[in-house]
């Protein structure tokens, strides 16, 4: 009834990992990685850190499946938001927009 009691040792291990990963992401930023890959590396480390916090500090590892659905749904929504946004932004240059309408406007105004 009081939920799963996590051993103190687990919390300290996760804490050490989080501090270590913070050090890693800061160190990686001092190394030259060709952009935009430096951002992807930093994001990968951030996702690892967030996962550790969610699973252990936020007890999702010990929670019911119902709760896990709520957790996954929240991040899945974010994934939809980012994916659909990027599918627009990143592909806009693939097909150049038609310039025919500009020509017609200029000619008709003359």
């Amino acid at each position: 009834m009081s939920g799963h009691i996590v051993p103190q040792k687990t919390y300290f291990t996760i804490f050490a990992l989080l501090i270590g990963l913070t050090g890693l992401t800061t160190w990686v930023a001092s190394v030259h990685i060709e952009p935009p890959w430096n951002t992807w590396v930093a994001l990968a480390i951030a996702v690892c850190k967030a996962t550790l916090v969610i699973l252990f500090f936020m007890h999702v590892k010990y929670s019911s499946n119902l709760t896990r659905i709520a957790v996954v749904a929240g991040f899945f929504w974010l994934a939809i938001l980012l994916t659909l946004t990027l599918s627009d932004i990143l592909t806009r240059t693939w097909i150049p927009p038609s310039t025919a309408w500009q020509t017609t406007t200029i000619e008709s105004s003359r």
Binding site: M1, A29, A46, A50, H59, L66, A73, L78
Partner: protein, 232 residues
């Protein structure tokens, strides 16, 4: 249910709408996650906006990122992770019924949260104001700052847009920290009154989830705002 109500004088840990303590605990934990899902959407919108303009004005965002001092960002990340540890230990103390430890860890979390805000307000935002890189109201980079931006060959309005994202995202994050500190203060008072027990510690756990969530937001803000321009 009836045996709980029979103990007169002691605060009944079970609210009448629940069958048992486990159901009560699961409902509270689940409900808090539903709220956090809305928080993911709240911050998610800003992250999506950031992503679009980060893609659009790539080098301006890198140059803007170098205007921030990554050392304060890194220090604040460490402070927040420490506060998440003390928060997790506070929830554990509540689960195991250690009232003194609960109060100590709650107070430690409050102090660490205030340390975060202290670093943010005094060392970062004040410095940004003096360097004239506060968008909208005081954006006129001068001297070294201006030279750095000119060398990077970026348009000043694009850098200002980066600073808008910086202030909006860290500002809303700081607002969440202030709310969190308020919640923890109420919890500390309730803990002193002996309102929590291993049977009923849901407010501590719920506030803990909120605190950890705010930590996660910062985990993403730190590299995206401070590190994208490199620290070399």
């Amino acid at each position: 249910m009836s045996e709980h109500q029979a103990t007169s004088g002691v605060l009944n840990p079970l609210a009448h709408q629940f069958d048992d303590l486990e159901q009560q605990h699961d409902a509270s934990y689940f409900g808090m996650w539903i709220f956090l899902a809305t928080e993911i959407m709240f911050f998610g919108g800003m992250f999506a906006g950031y992503t679009i303009y980060r893609h659009e004005y790539f080098s301006a965002f890198e140059a803007g990122s170098r205007l921030l001092d990554w050392r304060f960002g890194a220090a604040n990340t460490a402070v927040l992770i420490c506060s998440s540890l003390t928060m997790a230990l506070a929830v554990r103390a509540a689960q195991t019924g250690q009232r003194k430890a609960l109060i100590t860890f709650l107070l430690l979390t409050i102090v660490l949260g205030m340390a975060f805000l202290g670093i943010k307000f005094t060392f970062e935002w004040t410095r940004d104001w003096h360097e004239h890189i506060v968008p909208g109201i005081n954006f006129a980079p001068q001297g070294e700052t201006l030279k750095h931006l000119q060398d990077a060959k970026v348009a000043l309005p694009h850098v200002e847009l980066f600073m808008f994202f910086y202030f909006a995202m860290t500002g809303f994050h700081a607002l969440h920290m202030i709310v969190g500190i308020g919640l923890l203060t109420v919890l500390t008072i309730m803990a002193k009154q002996g309102r929590f027990s291993p049977q009923r510690f849901n407010p501590v756990e719920g506030s803990g989830l909120y605190w950890h969530f705010v930590d996660i937001v910062w985990i993403f803000l730190f590299p995206l705002l401070y590190l994208i321009g490199g620290t070399h």
